[in-house]
């Protein structure tokens, strides 16, 4: 149950993050969530959108380099300890988290975490075995 995430290279200057977002919205591709990883020089915009194939097509046609990565979306309780429980069940698996980001809006007491694992399949198996809800693209 992996989700396709789009990543774009952006230069670290004003307005650069707006262009791809505007491009997607103009074609009716909805951004479910996004995060911007930035350094002094450049940024990587990571997006989860309603239609990743269409999104990739639009962005590539506009000249962006688009990387498609498979990430895992996990639902946890939006209260203290929700994330800890999840991390605990991965603890002994040897799975490494490359990066993660979260969103809590509009989920009625639940938070969604997006993970990029080095071994996604092992992580999914572990999480499921512990009764944690791994989301598919439609549930997002």
């Amino acid at each position: 149950m992996k989700i396709h995430q789009l990543s774009l290279f952006l230069e670290n200057s004003p307005g650069k993050a707006m262009e791809p977002c505007r491009l997607l919205s103009a074609s009716g591709v909805n951004i479910r969530t996004l995060t911007l990883a930035d350094t002094q020089q450049f940024g990587i915009l990571r997006l989860i959108v309603s239609d990743w194939e269409r999104g990739r097509e639009l962005l590539q046609a506009a000249g962006y380099i688009v990387n498609v990565t498979e990430v895992v979306a996990v639902e946890v309780d939006d209260r203290p300890g929700g994330l800890v429980r999840l991390l605990e069940c991965l603890g002994s698996s040897g799975v490494n988290i490359e990066y993660m980001y979260a969103f809590t809006f509009g989920r009625e007491g639940r938070a969604v975490l997006i993970f990029r694992f080095d071994r996604a399949d092992v992580a999914i198996e572990r999480l499921r075995a512990s009764g944690i809800n791994v989301l598919g693209a439609l549930e997002l």
Binding site: S7, Q41, I44, R116
Partner: protein
């Protein structure tokens, strides 16, 4: 393999070629002496006259002609034909200062057409080919030079000129183009754009590219050949001498044959001006042996090369020179260190495997030279992880430091943000006050 009759001089026995060259040299020096005041004055200052040439080696005694001579006598000062006999003018844009103007008589145009025909034939182009000529038509010599050569060969010429990339791609696809003439950087731009439009150039009938007007490396050739599915040939020429068609690679792709029955080559030490022994690297000096309207004697090209003396397996007897990797005047001096753009290419290539688009920005900060190399991120190196891109950045800094012996800034920039000229790639932006 078919041989075009016009290519016969390519195969002339060497002693016969030397006789022909000496006879033509005497004629052209006499013409310039009689008709070009600047040349006559320089000869007389040295106590020389056209009769001093008893051997081709005597050419070394004659004065050089430089680009500034063309600028100083702008526009028509070096012409050796009256305007009534001049049938065409071309001009070089001249990135610094005044442009230069060159002239052709009917016979000059015939010679130019014949050397371009021989150049295309050496790349395997025949009457059956459809040639997309994407060199600019106009004052620039590239467009018309390639046009008449290809037409004389009997090929089908598409005079599309430069620019309008999407139309270039459609024409290439719809007209069944088999050969293209343009700058190597523009061809890569075409390949990139075709990819965005979902067209794989490798799937088209295109099989040969004749690329020139700017220096390009062997690594760029490999990228062009693999991504374009073609063979890429280097063509050499310069406006001052004739335009494209001074030299060309043959099927062996090992050095460029010079059409030395019309353009006599010497290689000199750029510092002392002395002619170097055969096979040594130095600055190429060319003498036009048959040009009527604007004969140039010992023209300093500023291009660094060496002549290959071994016979070429293709059978041509005209000498070859190695590909031009640098010019004696494209050297940058950064905080007292000599830097050639070709060194920067080598470092980028070593890190990335293929040559990305890049630009060198020179600025002066607090009285010190500062150099930044801006490198476009390519799909091959892009990652969604920050540390991977930072690692790439570090490796680029280290490789440049190692190659140049100089700490320079590196900036990763978004794809297609560096200026893609439709003509020549602009590799250096010098914002230092001169």
């Amino acid at each position: 393999m078919t041989f075009h009759p016009a290519s016969a001089p390519d195969y002339l026995p060497i002693p016969r070629m030397r006789e022909l060259q000496l006879a033509r040299l005497r004629g052209i020096v006499a013409r310039a002496f009689e008709r070009v005041p600047l040349f006559r004055q320089r000869m007389e200052e040295r106590g020389l006259d056209p009769d001093c040439l008893s051997d081709l080696a005597d050419l070394a005694r004659l004065p050089f002609t430089t680009k500034s001579d063309l600028r100083d006598t702008y526009p028509f000062g070096l012409f050796a034909s009256p305007m009534a006999e001049v049938v065409r003018l071309h001009a070089s844009s001249g990135t610094t200062g005044k442009p230069i103007v060159v002239a052709y008589t009917h016979q000059d145009l015939e010679v130019w057409t014949s050397v371009m025909l021989r150049a295309l034939a050496a790349c395997g182009v025949t009457a059956g080919d459809v040639v997309q000529n994407a060199y600019g038509y106009g004052l620039f010599t590239g467009g018309l030079g390639a046009h008449y050569g290809a037409e004389a060969l009997g090929a089908t010429v598409i005079p599309i000129s430069g620019g309008n990339t999407d139309r270039q791609i459609n024409v290439m696809k719809d007209f069944g183009v088999t050969a293209i003439c343009c700058t190597p950087s523009y061809f890569l731009h075409l390949v990139d754009r075709a990819g965005e439009l979902g067209i794989d150039i490798r799937s088209l009938p295109l099989r040969a590219g004749i690329f020139g007007a700017e220096p390009w490396t062997d690594s760029m050739r490999r990228r062009i050949e693999s991504e374009g599915g073609i063979r890429a040939f280097d063509i050499y020429g310069l406006t001052e001498i004739v335009g494209p068609g001074v030299g060309i690679e043959c099927d062996c792709q090992d050095g460029l044959h010079l059409f030395e029955d019309h353009f006599y080559p010497e290689v000199i030490d750029p510092e002392t001006g002395e002619v170097l022994p055969a096979g040594e690297e130095g600055e190429l000096v060319l003498t036009t042996l048959s040009k009527q309207a604007m004969p140039l004697i010992r023209y300093r090209t500023r291009d660094i090369t060496r002549l290959l003396t071994e016979p070429c397996p293709c059978g041509r007897t005209v000498r070859r020179m190695t590909r031009i990797a640098r010019r004696s005047d494209d050297m940058l001096i950064i905080r007292g260190v000599n830097v050639f753009p070709s060194q920067i290419e080598a470092a980028l290539l070593q890190v990335e495997g293929t040559l990305p688009h890049y630009q060198i920005i020179l600025e002066r900060e607090k009285g010190l030279d500062a150099m930044e190399v801006q490198v476009e991120v390519t799909p091959q190196v892009f990652s969604d992880e920050v540390r991977v891109l930072e690692g790439l950045h570090q490796r680029l800094v280290k490789a440049l430091d190692h190659t140049l012996g100089l700490r320079v800034g590196v900036r990763l920039v978004a794809p297609r943000t560096l200026a893609r000229s439709e003509g020549k790639a602009k590799r250096v932006v010098d914002r230092r006050e001169s």
